[in-house]
Symmetry: C2
Subunit: 379 residues, 2 copies
């Protein structure tokens, strides 16, 4: 069978033709009025998606670079912080803190569950020296959504800032940065923002930015103060990834045209259709209580090897779902509904899953998943 690639991974995600075409144009120089206009439009567009009035800084790096920038710009050696860890990406906050000698208390959450905001409140009440709470909006390894609004409600009353890894969630999950009072939001380019990997973003509230003055940790490339001063003059401290920014502007225009609330509703609908479809196939969700609308993690029956399933989906149908990580390896499949995706990407994902599960001997009613998805998607 002729293959076309269907990228249903939680990053990278499909890039819209508008961005692809813009990125294919001849490169321009970055120290020009022309590029400054593009950069200004990108920054404005990011503020719209973030729903913030603060500047959103752009780094040429992966999302992890912007995570690191939050740690090394806001904190000093020995500072006490809380890091929520309920999956592979939550763990990363702890790892970065460790490298910089930041004293992180790790809140371990069962993979597949969201952190209980009361736990964080309790920690902050117990220790008034805690300077930051690090957490993850969508934990991509498990498909769990954290209640960021509730956490922001809590950190507001304390000295601690709330730092959110929203790398996979910006442009997909509801996130009202200013209204909720989220201090730091980190994002990446290859997820809901729909362009290839290579750009990372970070926004800071005034409360967070104040911390940059006292921080004694080393930083050069990821220096937030320097980046903020530059962007206020419409510039970047170092060479920006020009064609990615050009592609980003096009993607942001698409988001603006659709409307951020509609973009989020679309993700919610595709996620719901995916969840109900896999349940109709007799499968269980890994995170039924707090599912994200970025990616759906599906538990597989004992008899089905998840590594094999993911491999077969790729080799036979060129449908790219993700498998499980760490302890979940082989036990789950993760299907994204992230970024430049519509109802038929979901239909294709479910249909490919049905055909492959049947081939692997799993017993279920063929077509039941697509039927359920159609019911939800047709509205």
């Amino acid at each position: 069978m002729l293959k076309k690639r269907y990228l249903l991974t939680p990053g990278p995600t499909p890039v819209p033709p508008e961005s692809l075409l813009a990125m294919a144009k001849p490169i321009i120089h970055h120290r020009t009025k022309e590029f400054r206009a593009i950069l200004a439009e990108a920054t404005e567009g990011l503020k719209y998606v973030y729903q913030t009035k603060s500047d959103v800084l752009i780094f040429a790096s992966s999302g992890t670079g912007a995570m690191e920038s939050a740690v090394c710009n806001l904190l000093s050696k020995g500072d006490k912080v809380i890091a929520v860890s309920g999956g592979k990406f939550g763990e990363r906050w702890g790892e970065i803190c460790e490298v910089y000698g930041v004293n992180a208390r790790i809140i371990d959450v069962e993979w597949g569950k969201a952190v209980d905001p009361a736990v964080i409140e309790n920690e902050l009440e117990k220790d008034s020296e805690i300077k930051a709470v690090f957490t993850t909006l969508c934990e991509t390894s498990t498909g769990v959504r954290t209640d960021i609004k509730a956490l922001a409600e809590i950190t507001k009353g304390h000295q601690a800032v709330l730092v959110v890894d929203a790398i996979s969630a910006v442009g997909a999950e509801g996130l009202k940065t200013d209204e909720w009072g989220v201090d730091v939001v980190v994002a990446g380019s290859q997820k809901g923002l729909m362009i290839p990997p290579g750009l990372a973003f970070v926004s800071l509230s005034e409360k967070a930015y104040k911390l940059t003055g006292a921080s004694d940790l080393p930083k050069y490339y990821f220096d937030i103060k320097k980046a903020k001063k530059s962007i206020e003059k419409g510039d970047t401290p170092y060479t920006p990834a020009v064609n990615l920014v050009v592609g980003l502007v096009e993607a942001l225009r698409l988001i603006k045209d659709e409307g951020i609330e509609n973009v989020i509703s679309r993700h919610r609908l595709l996620a719901e259709a995916t969840r109900e479809a896999v349940k109709a196939l007799g499968l269980e969700l890994l995170a039924p209580e707090s599912p994200s609308c970025v990616v759906t993690a599906v538990k597989l029956p004992e008899a089905i090897d998840g590594v094999e399933l993911v491999k077969k989906l790729r080799s036979k149908y060129d449908v790219w779902a993700a498998g499980g990580q760490a302890d979940l390896k082989g036990k789950i499949i993760r299907i994204a509904h992230l970024g430049y995706m519509n109802c038929f990407d979901t239909i294709v994902g479910i249909s490919a899953l049905e055909m492959t599960l049947r081939e692997m001997g799993y017993k279920f009613e063929l077509g039941a998943g697509v039927k359920k998805a159609e019911e939800i998607l047709a509205g």
Copy 2:
């Protein structure tokens, strides 16, 4: 809902990225060694797809131009021919003949039915002066496949040449030009050959080429003798559509890589899945006896307005099926499985049809079509 375009029309058809990228490259001059190599590869590739040893001539025109070339290069004023008409495209042969003063006996076939080869045999037996039989491999307006092998078997024993409009069928339907003894095969670029409209192709057997010597009809741009002499020197008489030829070479490489027999089997499988899926929705086929694997024409229930259905599929889902033409307007929908299409294009088409039919109040078991398609496609 975010829209992506799904082109399920029987031309234009989706263009593979390999061709799109090649056509986006800077234009080259056509009177160069570089372009001559490209043209030579295109001609060789076309011969592979046509399954012929004869040259396949390339015109910068739509398919109709190549149809006209067959009439005005092979015949003379007043010549007697047979033209089979069982749909909108079959009618065209008669129209072209009329313009040139060729005496065409029109064999009218009910739309949705294929011509009975015995009828043609009878006509040729009755009148030995008939010089050509004009017919259509896939009648795109009805989705009917003509038995070209049987017709070639008949014309072999007569002076008449068999001229086949295979515009929508080359690279999709089985067609063994030399083995079957088909004298003239006309094709277009925007169908099974997977590139945008703008190129037309024609092959001629020795028997057909001999007729060009006697023809007294006027021709200049579509002069086959001139085109054949040029291609023998690796050239074209007039400016070729350079970037379309560049795109064609890429498309032909894809066909060669997949293998022409596999390409045809793929079309056959997608067509079968589509037919069985719509039957599972309680719908009837327009051409159940001789369905082509290019496009499937589906009869609609009285209560469903086909014009409205096609419009809704486009406006709500950006899924482009075709409606009916002439007397069939509003009464059928035509779903193509032509060119750069795979199993998920078929799934998307059926799924969009199901969701739209439901919205329009048609009663059926949602998901039944996709289920049937999956059964066939999963193999």
